[in-house]
Amino acid sequence: MIKLENVSKTFEYKGKKVAAVKDVSLQINKGDIFGIIGFSGAGKSTLVRLVNLLEKPTSGEITVSDHRLNSISSKQLRHLRRKIGMIFQSFNLFNSRTVFGNVAYPLKLENRPKEEINRRVTELLRFVGLEDKADKYPEQLSGGQKQRVGIARALATSPDILLCDEATSALDPETTGEILNLLKRVNEEYNITILLITHEMNVIRSICNRVAVMENGRVIEEGEVYKVFSDPQENTTKNFISTVLNDRLSTQLIEKLKKKHPSKFYRIIFSGEATSKPILSEITSKHHIKFNIIYGSINELQNQLFGNLIVEFIGDEQVVGEVLSELKIVLDVKEVELA
């Protein structure tokens, strides 16, 4: 659906070259809700704009719905853009047009007949739950309502792809949830591939099936959301994950706990099959030792459970060693180190 191969984008600003995107290769498949997460300045905004050529790549190859963007004419590009919807953090609605007028605009660009425009706009406003706001102007709407209009407008020309540029970053948590649910419906009911960028891990956790983490213009980690959450490799990724999973204790707290509990702490990660079995209690009772859960959380990710516990084992050191090696067969176990 969307394929980026070794794509780089360098801006020239006052004679200085600034590389916003460095050698990025990504593949987004049909039906994906693909999330790109990164801090501000990581290059994700530029990256999403490369997909509809609002920014031209300095090098590399971009393919969107079988169109190679390097060799596309401006007329072909305008046609392709009508098949790529886009929504924005600041909504970017036309203040001079009503809600109806905003959603109708992309259809007017295509000179669609009036009845068809009326029908399509009404249908879309119903889909986003704003059928009673058709005659209102954007200034009369709340942030969440504005983004709904943005979504309806982006869907007007029945695109295959929807690009979301920090679409929920200007909204409160509750409204964010509503908009994310709407995006999920867009993906499921209209079968639209979504590429979104965000700095909130919560957004990735709520709706994405795949994720890429960006830092300093590069994609540093990429994969299935469940896999990245349960086994993050890079520090930045771990930091992002801990913003939503509460999977890490502060070093001060670990120090404090260590004084009270002389034995070692182990982090045990449960994922996939392991979450539905009483593995921990089976193995420890077999060896007649006790365990104590110090801290932990169990979360839902992509309709699967994901557990993250910090545990101490109370018993003979040799027996604990045996327990650990048995646990390691089915679970991910690591000694908690003091950084």
Partner: protein
């Protein structure tokens, strides 16, 4: 010799008509030219939909040459051209030519300023929807800027009433002419007072209409 007010009113009404004619004709022509130049100024800016360095620089230099010239001097300086184009330099219609030229450049700047203040995100969104540069100019830029643009044009209209008074002094007719000939040169304060009151009324009326109209288009 003081004027005889029992017979002078028709002269006042005629002069008011001349002033209104000059202002309205100038406004029509200058808005047309000014909007085109203003749009060109904006769209040829760096990073804009029809970026063009040559056109941008030429227009800016031209505007910056014409704009600083005081109108009364511009009026006289341009009179040979006025004669070529209008056939004469005297009368209400002849005055419309220099007024239009001067006002066009002022309007161009007003248009440009209002377009610059449009959120670039809106232009980006239009591009992302597959709008062509012309669709963006006429379907997005102009409607989005229309409210403040009307206020800007109202501001220009008030300036035109001022211009028309100056044009009057060099043979353009209208209230300015009347006020100068009777009020100033013949020391008839009553004519001065009446013309000033009428000019104030004209300004008030145009401002009122401008506000009303812009409110209909202003959506924030």
């Amino acid at each position: 010799m003081k004027v005889d007010w029992s017979t002078f009113w028709p002269r006042i009404i005629e002069a008011t008509g001349e002033t209104i004619t000059m202002v309205i004709l100038t406004l029509i022509f200058a808005s047309f030219i000014g909007v085109i130049i203003g749009l060109l100024l904006f769209v040829t800016r760096k990073g804009n939909v029809l970026e063009n360095k040559t056109i941008s620089i030429c227009l800016n230099v031209l505007i910056n040459i014409i704009r600083p010239i005081p109108f009364i001097i511009f009026l006289v300086a341009i009179s040979p051209l006025t004669r070529i184009i209008m056939g004469t330099t005297i009368g209400t219609f002849a005055a419309v030519f220099p007024m239009t030229i001067a006002a066009s450049f002022a309007i161009a700047r007003v248009v440009e300023n209002n377009l610059v203040s449009i959120d670039p995100g809106i232009i980006e969104a239009s591009k992302a929807m597959g709008a062509s540069p012309f669709q963006i100019i006429f379907g997005v830029l102009i409607p989005e800027a229309l409210g403040p643009l009307i206020l800007g044009l109202t501001f220009i209209t008030v300036g035109l009433i001022d211009f028309s008074a100056m044009a009057g002094t060099v043979g353009g007719g209208g209230l300015g002419d009347l006020s100068m000939t009777y009020g100033y040169q013949r020391f008839d304060t009553s004519v001065m007072v009446v013309t000033v009151v009428i000019l104030i009324l004209l300004v008030q009326i145009s401002q009122f209409l401008g506000n009303l109209l812009s409110r209909a288009f202003l959506r924030r």
